[in-house]
């Protein structure tokens, strides 16, 4: 029997507990909570004084790139990045090469995750074979093999008929269809948000309407089919408006938002930090490809609408859309650059900005990256209930640190936050009661 005691931490277990207390782990499971004064025999005692102890983070949207794009990320490097960022479970997107279309593909990623250890890896399967949008994948077979949801992420399911029947299929297995909502005809090859910055820089804009239109379509299809819809990384005020209506109508619709859409705006494309000079114009134009992401960073109004929606509980989950790329994919012109931000290792520090700004509370933030995402995808994690797997993060909410992308565990060093100072750092991550990451450790 292995017994671990985490001492003196502020334990935040969403909807259950927020107090300074000691947490006891026995054989990889949460055994209970005891007062600091209680004594006992433990194999290891971890001092968490001044730190927060919470369920390990759960990411509904991670690109691990394996199989096929191992030069960008592997399951092994991806889970290292995950636990360094406080994540104990990551849901791996199926836009690999080949795409995850069959039970065998799902089993491959599950096996790669088991082999890598560290964090739990749970794949999604595709909605359509090869993400080509032409014929449905056998989602029921993949669900039985362990797929948690289905998505053609990276691309939308463009054909409305295909989306309709994919939602119908979801009734067979209850797993959500996750759509990347973007009408390609409206997005029209855009590379950033359409607005004053795209006008200024002469970059092709993606209208917010491209997202709003497809969110509206998918919500109506969910209404008509009764299917289970999850909206990936929504980014616009319009999507929030549509989501509110869908939830009010009682539809089986959930949604996630990313840390970057909550904290950054289109101004970051001009230059890191989006600084402006006295005339309100950008001080130094840089065409920062690291801020190129899809959906694009939007306007401040959109950002504020997303934050408000997280605060009121309309948004079900904060998900990273961790999208690692090689340096060559970003050291090029803005048009040529790949979309995506490497996000696992900066999630906590990014979200703490919103806590510092007084817009979200720390318990809110924790809930949206633990309990709520687990409920969204039906995962049995995200809480510190007695008997639950001891997937735990210990974090120092006050620690200030400077992002050095070159030291990321992820192969993807692509973040516009490189060189920026963040507050809030992961001290230790435990999965099944085993230490998977320790700050300053090996």
């Amino acid at each position: 029997m292995t017994r671990i005691r985490i001492r003196n931490g502020r334990v935040i277990d969403p909807t259950r507990r927020d107090e300074v207390i000691d947490l006891v782990i026995v054989d990889g499971r949460v055994d209970g909570f005891i007062a600091a004064s209680e004594t006992g025999e433990f194999d290891r005692e971890i001092d968490a004084r001044g730190f927060v102890v919470a369920p390990g983070f759960v990411d509904l949207h991670t690109h691990l790139r394996e199989p096929g794009f191992e030069d960008k990320e592997t399951v092994a490097t991806g889970v290292m990045a995950a636990v360094a960022g406080g994540f104990t479970t990551v849901c791996a997107m199926p836009n690999t090469n080949p795409t995850l279309d069959t039970a065998g593909d799902i089993e491959f990623v599950l096996a790669a995750g088991r082999k890598a250890g560290k964090a739990r890896v749970i794949p999604l399967g595709t909605v359509t074979r090869g993400e080509a949008g032409k014929e449905l994948s056998d989602t029921a077979e993949m669900a039985a093999a362990g797929a948690v949801a289905f998505s053609d992420d990276g691309k939308p399911v463009y054909d409305a008929r295909m989306m309709r029947y994919a939602l119908s299929e979801s009734l067979r297995h209850g797993k959500p269809v996750v759509n990347h909502c973007e009408d390609p005809a409206i997005a029209d090859g855009g590379v950033m948000n359409e607005g004053p910055v795209s006008d200024l820089l002469g970059l092709k804009g993606m209208s917010r309407a491209a997202e709003d239109v497809m969110v509206a379509r998918d919500i109506e299809l969910a209404r008509h089919t009764g299917g289970r819809l999850h909206l990936a990384h929504i980014s616009t005020e319009g999507s929030i408006r549509l989501l509110r209506r869908a939830k009010r109508d009682g539809l089986a619709v959930t949604a996630e938002v990313t840390p970057h859409h909550l904290t950054l705006t289109e101004d970051w494309v001009v230059a890191p930090g989006g600084q402006k000079n006295g005339e309100g114009r950008p001080a130094a134009v840089q065409y920062d490809t690291r801020a190129k992401v899809n959906p694009p960073l939007r306007r401040e109004e959109d950002r504020q609408a997303l934050i408000a929606a997280v605060a009121e509980g309309l948004i079900d989950a904060i998900a990273t859309d961790h999208a690692p790329h090689r340096s060559i994919d970003k050291d090029c012109t803005f048009d040529e650059a790949a979309f995506g931000i490497s996000g696992l290792e900066t999630t906590l520090g990014s979200l703490m900005k919103l806590v510092e700004a007084g817009q979200l509370t720390l318990p809110d933030v924790i809930r949206r990256i633990t309990l709520d995402p687990c409920r969204t995808f039906g995962l049995p994690f995200g809480s510190l209930a007695v008997g639950a797997p001891a997937d735990i993060v210990i974090m120092d909410p006050e620690a200030s640190w400077t992002v050095d992308a070159s030291s990321f565990h992820s192969k993807g060093k692509n973040t516009p936050l490189d060189g920026h100072t963040l507050r809030g750092q992961v001290v230790m991550t435990l999965v099944d009661g085993r230490v998977a990451y320790e700050r300053g450790g090996a």
Binding site: G195, D199, L200, L201, G202, L203, A283, A284, I328, E336
Partner: protein
């Protein structure tokens, strides 16, 4: 890799400069949005002197002898490329012209690798034309070449705007207070963007006019946030009233797929510059065009070749203005190098200054 913002944009401040030349600290000409009025006027003054040089029997001065200028063009171009080539040669520089077709670009070499290779071969200044907006910024950020933007995507064409300003001043005598109307496909026009910065900085009142789908989206639907110093008017017959300068833009036929524009006929009817419309402008009004022209679409042939047209003058002035830009940029870079060398010789007096993004 140079990462500081100072190195990326045009300017690096030199605190020790006593008599600051307007171009002091400039390393690149990427767009005119970071140009002061003084800097632009310095170009116009210098271009006057270059015009004098061009009027001599031997149209050459040795100012750039020993310097290597590379013209790297990823898009087709006649006037801009030849104009830059002649400008550099007139100043005594060694000039290398590279077109993307026929070079290693066809083997998949990236822009940055090509730029580093050319730097390794001894290029001092790169004149870059590229279909991607911001491409010159990418080269400026990742190499230590001096970069002159010869047109990047939809973004900027600073030397075109400078030669336009020069031509307006030459014909009308001033720019301050003039009303300038730029007509057509503003959305896809790097010329319109750079002209707006340049002419507004010189005190002109700039208006963009075109069909809504060919205007930058913020100009139409979110006007308070439109980033340029330009008004917007959707109706040419109204906008043209009393203006001093009319600049129809080329309708980029290669970009028209039928979704933004019903037909060229529809365009010409409502946005073409013809005699009747010209008559509504000021009596001294001039007509400019960045070329190449689609006669009968954005401009009628009789206007294009009429006595108000300054199209030929624009082309001719292009050489003098580009000579001025290359001359001023070389002088600024050279001065910065001298300053750096002097700084380097001072024993650790200002060690904190050594890392401000300038190269030694």
């Amino acid at each position: 890799m140079l990462k500081t913002s100072a190195a990326v944009n045009g300017h690096v401040t030199t605190p020790s400069a006593v008599e600051r030349h307007p171009w002091t600290g400039r390393r690149h000409v990427l767009d005119l949005d970071d140009f002061s009025r003084d800097e632009i006027e310095e170009v116009l003054r210098t271009a006057d002197r270059m015009k004098d040089v061009l009027a001599r029997p031997i149209r050459r001065v040795p100012s750039l002898r020993g310097r290597t200028i590379v013209n790297l063009f990823y898009e087709a171009s006649t006037r801009t490329r030849v104009s830059f080539e002649l400008a550099a040669k007139n100043l005594g520089a060694d000039v290398v012209n590279i077109a993307a077709s026929g070079s290693s670009v066809e083997k998949g070499e990236t822009l940055l690798d090509t730029a580093r290779t050319l730097r390794g071969l001894g290029a001092d200044i790169m004149v870059l034309r590229h279909p991607d907006s911001g491409a010159p910024y990418t080269v400026a950020r990742h190499t230590d070449l001096s970069v002159v933007n010869a047109g990047d995507g939809l973004h900027a064409h600073p030397t075109q705007a400078l030669l336009d300003a020069y031509t307006i001043r030459e014909r009308i005598g001033r720019i301050e207070g003039l009303r300038v109307l730029i007509v057509g496909d503003i959305l896809h026009s790097r010329v319109a963007r750079s002209n707006a910065w340049c002419l507004a900085r010189l005190g002109a009142d700039v208006t963009f006019c075109g069909p809504p789908a060919l205007l930058p989206p913020t100009s139409v639907s979110d006007h308070d946030r439109a980033p340029w110093p330009a008004r917007v008017d959707l109706h040419l017959d109204h906008a043209v009233e009393g203006v001093d300068v009319i600049m129809p833009l080329r309708v980029q036929l290669e970009r028209q797929d039928g979704s933004r524009l019903a037909s060229l006929r529809s365009y010409a009817r409502d946005y073409g510059i013809n005699r009747a419309r010209l008559a509504r402008a000021a009596s001294h009004a001039i007509v400019m065009h960045p070329g190449p022209m689609n006669e009968g679409v954005e401009i009628d042939a009789d206007v294009a070749h009429g006595d108000r047209s300054v199209v030929q003058q624009q082309v001719t002035n292009g050489v003098a203005v580009r000579m001025a830009v290359l001359y001023l940029l070389t002088a600024a870079v050279r001065a910065a190098a001298v300053t750096d060398a002097e700084e380097a010789q001072k024993p650790a007096a200002k060690s904190g200054n050594a890392t401000n993004g300038r190269k030694a």
